[in-house]
Symmetry: C2
Subunit: 277 residues, 2 copies
Amino acid sequence: MSFDLDRYTLERVAHVSDALAVFCPPDGSQLREAMRYSLLAGGKRLRPLLCIAAAEAVGSNIEGVLPAACALEMIHTFSLIHDDMPAMDDDDLRRGLPTCHVKYGEALAILAGDALHALAFAVAPTHAPLFAQACGQMCQGQAEDLEAEGKSITLGQLQRVHAHKTGALLRASVLAGAYGAPAHQQSSLSHYGECIGMAFQIVDDILDVTGDDATLGKPAGSDLKHDKATYPKLVGLDESKRLARAAEQEALEALEIFGQSAEPLREIARYIVERNT
Amino acid sequence: MSFDLDRYTLERVAHVSDALAVFCPPDGSQLREAMRYSLLAGGKRLRPLLCIAAAEAVGSNIEGVLPAACALEMIHTFSLIHDDMPAMDDDDLRRGLPTCHVKYGEALAILAGDALHALAFAVAPTHAPLFAQACGQMCQGQAEDLEAEGKSITLGQLQRVHAHKTGALLRASVLAGAYGAPAHQQSSLSHYGECIGMAFQIVDDILDVTGDDATLGKPAGSDLKHDKATYPKLVGLDESKRLARAAEQEALEALEIFGQSAEPLREIARYIVERNT
């Protein structure tokens, strides 16, 4: 029987969404409402899924990694809220809804992002060193991305920006799930995380060119608007697709030391490259 | 021989400043430059001092709490950078220098704040639960403060706002310094932290009325400009001063279980109420 990623995802995403609502309950404040608006707006929940799938790969209990999985989604959401701000990427639409600052104003959006950032460390303090490092790299990547707008950069520089901006947190998601596993397993999963991080960003760049707003849930063509360096711009659409496939292949190879238990991670790697949203 | 707070402060602040520069070294990036600009701009270093003084009160080693002391200053600085943004308090001057967004632009200011927030947890992961809780309350307090602008609130509500906005991190500073100390000592220090937090905020409100830009290093009259609820506005200047003294007194009483080792904490409580900056 082949592995059913849709069903796997549905079950686990429901589990994560329930847990997120519990970790970030309403308290009557506007701030909390803004946090919940962005946190519970849906989305692919890719980081929690990676965390849980990595836990399953190394034979860990799903319940045990749920706080880490939720913390990762909080960190991801905090970064989206801040990146969408007018001073940054100036996006009005996210996950098919008005962005946090459009809905609640800029002041509350900054604070909702900050509070989700803090909540992540409250929920998963064990992973503070790993997550703090990933957050730092994410900020660094976003700053490099903004700095590169309108400039011509090399493919190596672009890969570096993306490794920081997107790759660091995806890698941390896998590593958090594999917390406590033997070193050689963690090392393989770390490499897997880096490869899918690269694949993810290449496909993101491709979708910004080929996708439409409704499917993406955010404005397509945003990279072009900001004159951002992207894979399609630097190496063309066909070569970008080839690079994404190569990164997927390398990710799958990194999982060779695992048996059937890593099937969810393998399917996620395939999904990342084949997705249209 | 009486205790010399100026000398005590000078020595420890120099120690903290050196450590901050090491924990946040230049890396050639603009983001790091913006982080260092705000982090190393001086300031009273009150939170690191409280952390170190609490460590001394319970007989702990100063070197051991230096990471926590630095993390507290990073968190404080991150909150200042974000609070100064145009969408929030819209202040141009901080610690006698142009604010981070005036110097580096809003995008980099948001990211520098975020990156300092993350760095704090990288530097002091042991304290993640304590610091994350304090950060969350700080964001909550800032949101409540903004929400209360132009509205009339009660003294009880004002105290609640300040307990979140300023008190939580001051209390966390003392508790981080007393990490590992016996429960009754921690409990006394927690109470001390709450009292000086209240005293600090009352005096801040008073100074906003009675101080001048040059001495404060930031614009005086900022609360009035934003039509903020303050102690002088709610209870008058004289009653505000009386409340600050009462909070100082309660803070000193909380330290009665300690001997000579808590002298720095006692002097800090006095300084908080007597300061003119």
